[in-house]
Amino acid sequence: MYDFLIGPMLALSLVVFIAGVAYRVYQFFSISEARPKPEANLPKDLARTVAAREKDEYLRIDSAADILLKWKLRLKRTILGRAPGMSSVTIVFHTMLFLLPVVTVGHSILLDSYFGISLPTLSETTVDTLTLVFIIVIFFYLFRRIFVAKVRSVSTWRDYLALFATGAPFVTGYMAFHHWFDYKTVLYIHIICGELMLIAIPFTKLVHMPFFILSRFLIRYELGFGKGSRKWVENT
C-alpha cells in the first residue's frame, strides 16, 4: 500500500497536476492577446505627454526625502496598506503553504531517494510549530468564511472544498507526526490527501495559484505588477 502511494499514485498525481497547470496556462494565453503599445501610434510629443502623465507625480520617488514622505501614500495604494491584518495572515499562510512541505525532513528524504535532490531542511520542532500556526490560520479562514457576512454571502461549496483540500494534508501530517490514532492509517490518509491536493489545483478554486501570477504580471491594468503586455481577448 505504502509503496503504491509513494510510487505510481504519486507519479499519477504529479502528471495530472503538471498537465492541468499547463492546460490552465495555455488557456490563459488563448483568452488573452498581446497588446499593441498605444504610445507607438501617437505622434512624438503626444507620446511624451502620455509618458509624463503615467509617472504619477504624487507617488514618484525622486529623492531621499520622497522615500521618507511618500512610502505611506504608496502603501495606501496596495491591499497590504488597506487591509494590513488580513494581508499579513495571507502572506504567512501562502509562504508556509509552499515552504513547509519542502523543508520537512521526511519529505526531503523521499525527494533525495527519488531525484537525488537534497534541499535544506528545518528542524522537526520548528516544522511542527509552524504547522500548528498553519492549522490555526486554516481554521481562521474557515471561521471567517462561516461568520463574516461579506465572505459568507459569496461562499459556495467550491470554496469550502478548496479550503478543505489545502488544510487536510497539513492536519493529517500533524496527526501523523504526533502518532495520534493508528500511525500507518493516518500516514496513508496524509499521503492521499497531499496527492488529492495536487490533483485538485487545476480543477478547483486553487487554480488561482497559476492565474494570480499570469493575470497580475501580464495583464495591463491599474493594479498590475508587471508591464502589462497583454489584454483579454473578445470572441466576436
Binding site: 488580513m86 468564511r145 465572505v151 459568507r152 459569496v154 478548496a162 488561482h208 494570480f212 493575470s215
Partner: protein, 135 residues
C-alpha cells in the same frame, strides 16, 4: 431553443461565449471578500454584503454562466437592481487575484439590455425615500 417569456437563451449564450475570460474569472474567484472595502457603496450602505463587488458579479453574470444562458425573465429582473442600482461602474474595486469586476458587471448589464431589462429612471426609488427619512 425557443424564446421563453421574452428571453432568448441562445442570444444570452452567444453573448456569454464572447467573453471566455469572464468564465475563467468566475472559476478563479476565491471569495475572499477583500474587494468589499474598496467599494464606496458597500462602505456607505452599512456594509450590506449585497453591495460587495464580487457579490454583484457572482449573482448576476455568475448566475448566467451557471445556468448556461437559460435564465428566466424573473431572474433577470432580480439582477436588475444588483447591477444597475448597486453599482455605478466607478472601476475602483480591486481584486487580489487580478479579476476585473467592473467589466463583468458591465457585461451583465449588456446582456440584460439585450433582453429588454434595463434601468427605469422614472420608477419610484423606495430606498432613497427611506434614506431621506433617516436623515
Amino acid at each position: 431553443m425557443a424564446v421563453v417569456n421574452g428571453v432568448d437563451p441562445d442570444e444570452v449564450r452567444k453573448l456569454l461565449d464572447q467573453k471566455k475570460h469572464m468564465e475563467v474569472f468566475l472559476s478563479v474567484c476565491v471569495s475572499c471578500g477583500m474587494c468589499a472595502d474598496s467599494c464606496f457603496l458597500y462602505v456607505n450602505h452599512n456594509k450590506d454584503p449585497s453591495y460587495m463587488p464580487s457579490y454583484k458579479a457572482v449573482h448576476s453574470l455568475g448566475k448566467m454562466y451557471r445556468k448556461k444562458g437559460k435564465v428566466s425573465r424573473e431572474e433577470l429582473e432580480e439582477m436588475k437592481e444588483l447591477i444597475y442600482k448597486k453599482c455605478v461602474l466607478c472601476t475602483r474595486c480591486y481584486c487580489p487575484v487580478g479579476i476585473s469586476i467592473p467589466g463583468m458587471i458591465a457585461w451583465a448589464r449588456n446582456i440584460c439590455r439585450s433582453q429588454g431589462v434595463f434601468r427605469e429612471y422614472d420608477e419610484r426609488d423606495s430606498e432613497n425615500i427611506e434614506m431621506k427619512q433617516h436623515v
